[in-house]
């Protein structure tokens, strides 16, 4: 297995404006070239991989449409990579000619060195009237665990312990329907704290939501995020009937999980929740759920936690890096990045091995829909926090997303009076890939859409400067996801 981390970024600038970008990287024996602006992905041999940076450099000195010849490439290639190419090699020129033909064909088909034509388009998209389509209902600001890394401060979100009343929840659903325009699919996540501490209200709200569907021509997709402590057969049966997705919090290996996810008395929660989660996943036929873990500085070998969950039989797995102030002992530090990169590479390679044996599983951060993925408008405009997506506190206040709850500067309105702070909403609306200088030049911009506004705020005090560690991990995950696609498409390794 090749876990070396090699990447090259090729950006062509004309008159100071970035117009073309390819990204090349090696992963698990594959040489991969992304044409960022068209979304095209090419698996190439080593010769093309080596030619492309030279080609790009030479192309800048050529007139529009003028082709680059093998005679020009060959000496530069032999100088750049003397170990691999010798000028007197009998068939080198012929091979370079073939490679150039392939490159020219892709350029003509607009699959290589394509231009970034989206910035003005996105301005138009941003001007459209947005509607609300998703709510994160903080049904309980209370929790029965004391997770060490909880951004909700053990469920309280830096405020009082509280449960959402049925009346507030009902008003939230009415607010959603009233502000969703022609949007048919509406999403409501029951979140916390721990939402099962307020399960009777969850049930009543689902019933109320269903009662609205026909008259308003809406379809609610309810989801539930739970730590599993209060999970029982009745709740599972209800969730299997009503919840489009459930997110089950478990971090992986017992010692890892119990260290970060103890009960208030300090004892671990792994042994209580694991059997319930296994049963729950089976009862959902191993679909429409995620076991969802967080890795920290304490378990940088998190691939073992992912594989532990897979070996337990879970087929839908998400294990994600903790987001925490760098002062916390469990926070991911810059020095951790090389190890984490290798972990992702190793995990991706192992996933390919397992998939090829018919023993694969889904790892959320390696999932990528190349053929049926989102349109470019969605890819560039971000997660929708503050505009399409809002979080609702137990007493009905609205925040741009669950991670901003409790930070009074981000109070955006309430479910009774609607959006009050339109300046704040406009700020979130303007927050897209092109409003972030660092994102404009990043190959991953069409896959992460500019990253998480809450992460930006927590690390930089504004919502437009990306969180660097998060970016590095995101870029690696995109590369791994593409490598997996290449491997499963049975494309030759070079």
């Amino acid at each position: 297995m090749n876990s070396s981390y090699v990447q090259k970024e090729n950006v062509v600038a004309l008159k100071g404006k970035v117009v073309k970008m390819i990204h090349q990287f090696k992963n698990n024996g594959y040489f991969i070239v992304m044409d960022v602006n068209s979304g095209s992905i090419h698996i190439v041999d080593e010769l093309v991989y080596d030619i492309l940076p030279l080609y790009e450099k030479m192309a800048k000195e050529k007139h529009e449409g003028e082709k680059i010849l093998a005679e020009e490439i060959m000496p530069a290639l032999c100088e750049e990579e003397p170990q691999r190419y010798e000028a007197d090699s009998p068939d080198l020129k012929e091979k370079i000619n073939e490679a150039l033909e392939d490159i020219h064909e892709l350029i003509e088909e607009e699959q290589l060195f394509t231009e970034d034509i989206y910035e003005n388009y996105l301005v138009d998209v941003s001007k459209r009237q947005t509607v609300v389509k998703a709510l994160c209902l903080h049904i309980a600001h209370d929790c029965n665990l004391s997770c060490q890394y909880c951004f909700a401060g053990e469920g309280e979100y830096h405020g009082e312990r509280d449960l959402m009343s049925y009346e507030v929840g009902k008003q939230a659903l009415d607010f959603l329907v009233a502000n969703s325009g022609n949007r048919r699919n509406l999403e409501v996540d029951f979140f916390g704290g721990e939402p099962l501490l307020n399960f009777p209200v969850v049930k009543k709200l689902v019933e109320y939501g269903r009662s609205l569907e026909e008259a308003h021509q809406k379809k609610f997709r309810f989801t539930l995020t739970t730590n599993g402590v209060a999970l029982n057969d009745e709740i599972m049966e209800f969730a299997n009937r009503e919840m489009a997705n459930v997110v089950l919090s478990i971090d992986g290996r017992k010692q890892v999980h119990d260290r970060m996810r103890p009960f208030p008395n300090g004892s671990g929660s792994y042994d209580l929740i694991l059997p319930k989660f296994r049963r729950f996943a089976e009862s959902r036929k191993q679909t429409n759920y995620y076991v969802r873990g967080t890795f920290t500085h304490h378990n940088l070998d998190f691939s073992k936690d992912v594989l532990h969950l897979a070996d337990l039989g879970f087929q839908q797995i998400s294990v994600e890096p903790v987001v925490a102030p760098p002062t916390e002992d469990y926070a991911i530090q810059k020095e951790d990045l090389p190890m984490l990169m290798k972990e992702y590479d190793d995990l991706a390679a192992e996933l390919v091995r397992r998939k090829k044996k018919g023993e694969g599983f889904q790892f959320f951060h390696f999932m990528i829909d190349l053929e049926g993925g989102p349109c470019v408008a969605k890819r560039l405009s971000g997660c929708g926090s503050g505009t399409e997506y809002l979080a609702v506190t137990p007493w009905g206040d609205l925040y741009p997303c669950h991670q901003f709850v409790g930070q009074e500067d981000f109070l955006i309105g309430n479910v009774f009076d609607g959006i009050k702070n339109t300046d704040l909403q406009d700020e979130f609306k303007r927050c897209n890939v092109y409003s972030k200088e660092e994102c404009k030049h990043c190959f991953a911009k069409f896959y992460c859409s500019g990253g998480c506004a809450a992460n930006s705020y927590n690390f930089h005090g504004n919502i437009t400067d990306p969180y660097e560690i998060g970016c590095e991990l995101q870029k690696k995950r995109v590369e791994c996801a593409i490598m997996i696609k290449a491997a499963m498409a049975d494309v030759y390794t070079c």
């Binding site: 095209s40 041999d45 073939e98 509607v131 997709r221 987001v323 951060h365 829909d369 349109c375 859409s449």
Partner: protein, 46 residues
């Protein structure tokens, strides 16, 4: 082509024509809650 194989991908330029309907899932609702991941989502308007 002898040296390059291209994976089937959605043409982003083409997606401008019919894009932006907004029926797709909100990224944070699916699993993550702490990171923005869009590329793994599916278009609901194809």
């Amino acid at each position: 082509m002898k040296h390059i194989k291209t994976l089937q991908t959605r043409n982003l330029k083409e997606s401008m024509k019919k894009g932006g309907c907004g029926e797709c899932q909100t990224s944070c609702q699916s699993a993550c809650k702490t990171s923005c991941t869009v590329g793994n989502q599916s278009c609901e308007n194809r």
